[in-house]
Each structure stands twice: as structure tokens, then as C-alpha cells.
């Protein structure tokens, strides 16, 4: 097919059903959001391994308590450090714009900004549970065959996500979702200036929290590509999490049982 013919077909496609296709793209993102996280409240143990220059450097373990807000359709998260010992008991509340950090040493909670939450590794828990369909407007760029983290070829929708809410952490995201399964395969996250910040691969699709979901992610720092982090979920279970937990005064009372 010639280039001219392709352009004509694209124009025709957009003219005939552009709005409808955009809605489909949004449904694809909503579908893959459901693959990543259940709609019931749950808790998980999240183990992060940080690599520098290809070598393991740090290990962090968190307890993650996550619940979808029925009003905003976005996840509210409580993340408590378990390891390293130096940070044990530190707790972060990540709930939209309400972001608090509690340190058991000073027994005080400090409000933090969206930018400040990204300093700590605890923010990874928030990034992995975010419902992209809520904060981003999606469009399908193409269908592509790409390799997943295990270098297996996956037939994917290549989506372009643009921030539609000021709660969106990234300005723009490229996302690959496997057709048929809605498995998230890969994401690329960009800053306001268009700079590529993170590359994310999902892997280890396995039965957890009532469905087949990715149990691990690899996050590559695209600004400094010598830095990478793996995030592995485990000890998953559904748990009733009262809404009252998601406020500053509860943070000193959150104890892992």
C-alpha cells in the first residue's frame, strides 16, 4: 500500500468513526486497569530491588493497603515500610492530592506534594495501582507486535495516553496492551517537556487476587539508564479496608498484623 493511500484511509477512518475509536481506546485502558488491580480492597507485600549499573543495590519491602474510591474510581493507598530496618514503620498516605508521610521516630505526619512523594520508593506502589483510564485520555496509535520482558512476542494495541486530570503524575504515557487478554505489557512515561522518564515492563502473569494479573514490574529510569527497579507483589489477599484509614490521624495507628 502506498503512503498516499494509507493517509487517505487514515483520514477516512477518523472521519467515519474517530470519536468511537477513541472511546474504544479508553475501554482498552479501563480493561487493562482491571487486569492489574481488582475492584475489591486488598493488601499486598511489595518487594523492591534496586539495581545500579546492573548490580543489586537496595532492597525495600512495603505493606500496601489499596482500595478503589467509588467516587473518583481512583485507588487510595496506604504504604508502610517493613524493610530496611532503618525505615521500618514509616508510612505514606497516597490519596489523590491528600499525601502524608508519617515517621514513627518523630511521631509526626507531614503533608507532602505530588513531586515529593516521587522521592521515596513508596510511590511505586501508587504508580502500579493507578487507574490510568481515570486520569488519562487514550487513543490507539497502532497495533504492533512487541517483545515482553521475557522476549516473548505479544500482539498489542499501542496506546497514547495524555493527562486529563491534574492528579496525573505524568504528562503523557505510551502503553502497550496485549489484544485479547488485556494484559499490560509495557509503558513509557514522559514529563511535561516530552522527556522520557521511565520505561516499565510487566511480567509474571499469574493467579493473584482472583484473576490472572501481573505479579511483577520492571521500572527502568530512562534519564539515568544505569538505574532500574523490580517490584514484586506477594502475600496478596482481599481485606476490608475502612475509608477511615485514609486520613492523617490514622497513620500512627496502622499496624501490620
Amino acid at each position: 500500500m502506498t503512503l498516499t493511500a494509507r493517509i487517505v484511509l487514515i483520514a477516512l477512518a477518523l472521519a467515519v468513526g474517530g470519536a468511537g475509536y477513541a472511546q474504544t481506546a479508553q475501554q482498552i485502558v479501563a480493561g487493562t486497569d482491571k487486569v492489574r488491580n481488582p475492584s475489591q480492597p486488598f493488601r499486598s507485600t511489595l518487594t523492591l530491588t534496586e539495581y545500579v549499573g546492573g548490580k543489586e543495590r537496595d532492597h525495600d519491602t512495603f505493606a500496601l493497603f489499596s482500595k478503589e474510591d467509588r467516587t473518583t474510581r481512583q485507588f487510595r493507598n496506604l504504604v508502610q515500610y517493613v524493610e530496611p530496618a532503618r525505615d521500618a514503620g514509616k508510612t505514606v498516605l497516597l490519596d489523590g492530592r491528600s499525601l502524608w508521610f508519617f515517621d514513627p521516630a518523630s511521631m509526626l505526619s507531614v503533608r507532602i506534594s505530588a513531586q515529593q512523594r516521587l522521592i521515596g520508593q513508596a510511590a511505586i506502589g501508587d504508580i502500579l495501582t493507578v487507574n490510568l483510564a481515570v486520569d488519562y485520555t487514550a487513543a490507539v496509535l497502532a497495533t504492533e507486535d512487541i517483545q515482553d520482558a521475557a522476549r516473548q512476542t505479544r500482539h498489542c494495541w499501542h496506546l497514547d495516553l495524555k493527562a486529563a486530570s491534574d492528579l496525573a503524575v505524568y504528562n503523557h504515557v505510551e502503553y502497550w496492551v496485549e489484544q485479547g487478554t488485556f494484559f499490560p505489557i509495557k509503558g513509557k512515561f514522559y514529563s511535561d517537556s516530552g522527556r522520557l522518564l521511565k520505561i516499565l515492563y510487566f511480567r509474571r502473569f499469574s493467579q493473584r487476587l482472583g484473576s490472572v494479573r501481573p505479579a511483577e514490574a520492571i521500572i527502568i529510569d530512562a534519564v539515568d539508564t544505569s538505574l532500574a527497579t523490580t517490584a514484586a507483589f506477594g502475600d496478596d489477599r482481599f481485606q476490608d479496608i475502612p475509608d477511615a484509614w485514609f486520613q492523617r490521624d490514622y497513620l500512627p495507628r496502622l499496624h501490620i498484623k
Binding site: M1, I7, L9, I10, L14, V16, G17, G18, G20, T24, T45, T49, Y51, G54, R57, A63, E83, P84, A85, R86, A88, G89, R97, L99, A105, S106, M107, V110, R111, I112, S113, A114, Q115, Q116, I119, V140, T143, E144, D145, I146, Q147, A149, R151, K186, I199, Y201, R204, S206, A215, I220, T225, A228, G234, D235, D243, Q247, D249, R253, H255, I256
Partner: protein, 467 residues
């Protein structure tokens, strides 16, 4: 629906049939070799309840430099020229029953210092910060009894609503206000708390169990006495509640009563942008000035002569006085967080009070003792001595190299431009080991708030092992 399907077919045809993107797959080469295999799929072990603790052993050595000539000579003893401390710090919680917990937080100090006799009880000191039992009779309704560190406030450098901070800081290892909150004794109290969706209410009562005692100095601390006379010399009561007004706006209001005096307070925070958070903290009530508070306390505890007139003008009348912290935190993309705060202590020293203080200090040594007692009282109460000050702090994570954290602050008296400066560096050598150091300096002319202090600078080196 048909139109959308038609469009999909057209678009698929236009874009071609699923090209394999070789360039896109090059990103896989960025995955570290050690991370190319997924983690074990075996079930992860549940988190042990043993992790409800933090234990560390810290070795710390400090040297100080004193100023030679002070406009107002400080009474002996001077701070030591050097100090060596070995600290075992334990914070631990036990589950006694399904809804009952016990909490201990304390620090064992072994110390040696210039001028401190060896084999003295001063060489071994235990700080009992907290020891209390907690019962949850109903979901999110708590009853706590024992020595509790009840803290309040949203600001970093000065917390007007942190009413239980007075007389509670013991042997601080840093001048950083965020660290001072860690080195502090709790108050023996009963506390009730109810947390519900969108709000919480806390009520606490601490009984008067001892007569007010003189201000402690670092060289007259008891070894194992919990020093409840510092925290339970007056009946104290606190009622505070927060309510969610909007989705991300939950102001907190406080009412506090101590020894027949009442204070009101409020805390608010607001997310201003992706990188900026603003906050304000206020408390107010009828009281006398800091000078008169100090003189009354000194006479009551016998440190100052009961009926001798002060070298400074006295005014025992009470009036409504406010304390305010107004600030903002800004975080850069390079992981540096700045906090800028304005502090107002209406009861603190005015410019005229400072003039009087320096003028009176040229008198006899006994007058100088009284003048320094007033400043020591302000420090013991954790109050800024000056009425107006500016506080700027930075914290830089992964500074220059990974695992290095640099932090620093300067607290500036707006009357004379003098300041307390501290810079610290901590390197997290591993998950268990941290090495670090900090330098603190009192900057300013000899006739200024910080420049008139006897200590010019202090350097502290430390190594800590976490368990």
C-alpha cells in the same frame, strides 16, 4: 457501532498488519542482567509482626568551640569541649491481646565528656520517652494510658500547637527541630481517640503529680529516674479534632488547658501545586510575656530569688498572645525539598527587650545568671526567643551520589540577622549501616541573638547500626 467497526478495519489496513518494532524492543537491553529472570513465583512469606520495632545502636563523637569574650558572660558550666556518646535506641510494640498493645520507646546513653567524672551516674542515662498500653474497645476507638508523646502541628521549624513539647527535650544530638521531636519525653496521661471517615477527635488529660522542678542541665541528669516532674507538674488537658471540609482539606482545631490557662489552636495544610504544599499553624491565649513567664518559673522553683526585682522590666499583666508558623514546602525534580517558614512568637523578645537584655548584662555576674536563665527557659519551653524569625531548611536525597542525604537549615532572627546554621550529611552505606556528620554554628555579631551564645560551633560524627 458499524461505523466504529468500519473505522477499525480501515485504520488497521492503513497502519499495516502489526509490524514488529525492532527499535522498541531495544529497551529490553536496559533491563539489568540480574533482573532478567522474574522473581520466584513461590508464595511470599507474610510480614512478621517482629517488624513492629526499630532498634539502633549509635556511636557519636562531638567537639565544640567556645567564644572567648561574651558581652553577657554565661554562668558556668560551659558546654563540654568534647563529648562521646554510645546510644541504644529502642522503639517496640507488643500485641498483648487482639485489641491490646503495649509500646516502649527509650534510649540508653553511655557517655563521657570533658569535665564529666568517670564512673559517675552521669555516665549512664536512660531516657524513657514512652511506655503505655493501648486498648481498642471499638473499631478505631482507642484508649491509651501511660507515658505518651502526644505531638501536634504541621510546621517543621516551630510548632505553636505542640503543647506537650515544653520541658520534654532531653540531650538532643542535633539542633534540627525535626530531630528535637525525636529526643523528647512523653507525658503521663490518659488519651482517648476516635477516628471516623472524614474526621477524628482526641481528648487527653495529664495529671499534676509533682511540684515544678528547676530546669535540668545536661550535667545534672539522673540515670534512671523518668523525670516525670518535667512533664507532669501541672494538670493539662487537650481536646483536638479534625474534620474533612473538602476532599483534600482537613483543618484541625485544638483547645488546651494548663494550670488555669487556656489556649486555642489550628492547623491547616493545602496542596498548592504538584511541587508545593502550603501550611499554617496558630495558637493563642491569654498569657504574660516570655520574660515574665521565665521570672515567675525561676522564682517558683528557687532558681531565682523569690522577692528580688528583675534586671529587666516586669509586667505581670496577661493579654491575648499568638504564636504562628506560616510556611511552604517545595520539591524540585532533583529530589531537593525546601521548607521556608515565618515564625511569630508574640510573647517573645521585642527589639526593646533585646536592648534591655544586653544593657542589663553589663552588670554583675548575678544579673547575668538571671538573664541567661531567661534564655534557658525559652529553650526548655521550645519557644523561639525572638518575636520574629525566618526558618529555611533543605533536604536532598541521593545528593551528588546515590544513598547520600544532605540536609541543612538556618534559623534567622529578623531583628539582628543572626542565625543558627546546621549542615548534615548521612551516607546509607547499607541497609543496616549509616555514617554521618553534622556541623552547627551560631552566627552573628556579639550583640545579637545567636552571636551572643557561648558556643561558636559544634562538629559531630556518628555511625549507626540498625537491627
Amino acid at each position: 457501532m458499524i461505523a466504529r467497526a468500519f473505522a477499525t478495519v480501515l485504520l488497521s489496513a492503513a497502519l499495516g498488519s502489526a509490524p514488529v518494532l525492532a527499535d522498541e524492543n531495544k529497551d529490553l537491553d536496559l533491563i539489568p542482567q540480574g533482573a532478567r529472570q522474574p522473581a520466584s513465583s513461590s508464595p511470599m512469606q507474610p510480614i512478621s509482626s517482629d517488624r513492629r520495632q526499630r532498634i539502633d545502636l549509635e556511636e557519636s563523637f562531638a567537639v565544640s568551640s567556645m567564644r572567648d569574650a561574651l558581652l553577657v558572660p554565661s554562668p558556668p558550666p560551659d558546654p563540654p569541649d568534647w563529648e562521646e556518646r554510645l546510644l541504644l535506641d529502642v522503639r517496640k510494640q507488643w500485641s498483648l491481646a487482639s485489641r491490646v498493645n503495649a509500646t516502649y520507646s527509650g534510649r540508653l546513653n553511655l557517655r563521657a565528656a570533658d569535665g564529666l567524672p568517670v564512673r559517675n551516674h552521669e555516665n549512664v542515662i536512660h531516657d524513657l520517652r514512652e511506655g503505655y498500653a493501648s486498648w481498642e474497645p471499638l473499631d478505631r476507638t482507642y484508649l491509651d494510658l501511660g507515658r505518651i508523646n502526644l505531638k501536634s502541628g504541621v510546621a517543621l521549624g516551630f510548632n505553636p500547637t505542640d503543647f506537650f513539647k515544653t520541658r520534654a527535650v532531653v540531650e538532643p544530638l542535633s539542633a534540627d527541630p525535626s530531630v528535637l521531636r525525636e529526643d523528647r519525653l512523653g507525658t503521663l496521661m490518659v488519651r482517648g481517640q476516635r477516628i471516623w471517615e472524614g474526621g477524628s477527635l482526641t481528648a487527653a488529660f495529664a495529671p499534676a503529680l509533682f511540684d515544678p522542678s528547676p530546669i535540668y542541665r545536661d550535667n545534672d541528669l539522673p540515670s534512671f529516674d523518668p523525670m516525670l516532674d518535667r512533664t507532669n507538674a501541672y494538670d493539662r488537658a487537650l481536646l483536638k479534632g479534625s474534620v474533612q471540609v473538602a476532599r483534600d482539606f482537613s483543618p484541625e482545631f485544638l483547645f488546651y488547658r494548663e494550670g488555669g490557662q487556656s489556649r486555642f489552636g489550628a492547623n491547616i495544610t493545602e496542596s498548592i501545586s504538584q511541587a508545593v504544599v502550603g501550611y499554617a499553624e496558630w495558637s493563642g491565649g491569654r498569657r504574660t510575656s516570655l520574660i515574665d513567664d521565665a521570672l515567675r518559673f525561676g522564682r517558683l522553683t528557687g532558681t531565682l530569688q523569690a522577692h528580688a526585682p528583675s534586671a529587666l522590666p516586669e509586667d505581670s499583666n496577661r493579654s491575648f498572645q499568638s504564636e504562628v508558623s506560616l510556611g511552604a514546602a517545595y520539591t524540585t525534580e532533583t529530589k531537593i525539598t525546601f521548607n521556608l517558614e515565618y515564625h511569630f512568637n508574640q510573647a517573645g523578645f521585642s527589639r526593646q527587650d533585646w536592648n534591655n537584655w544586653f544593657a542589663a548584662g553589663r552588670g554583675s555576674r548575678s544579673i547575668a545568671s538571671e538573664l541567661w536563665f531567661i534564655r534557658g527557659y525559652a529553650s526548655d519551653q521550645q519557644q523561639p526567643i525572638s518575636r520574629h524569625s525566618i526558618f529555611l531548611r533543605f533536604d536532598w536525597v541521593d545528593a551528588l551520589v546515590p544513598r547520600l542525604e544532605l540536609a541543612g537549615f538556618i534559623n534567622t532572627d529578623l531583628y539582628d540577622g543572626s542565625g543558627l546554621l546546621q549542615l548534615s550529611a548521612d551516607y546509607y552505606a547499607s541497609d543496616a549501616w549509616t555514617v554521618g556528620g553534622l556541623v552547627t554554628a551560631n552566627l552573628g555579631t556579639s550583640r545579637s541573638d545567636f552571636g551572643s551564645l557561648p558556643q561558636a560551633w559544634n562538629l559531630r560524627l556518628k555511625v549507626a547500626r540498625y537491627f
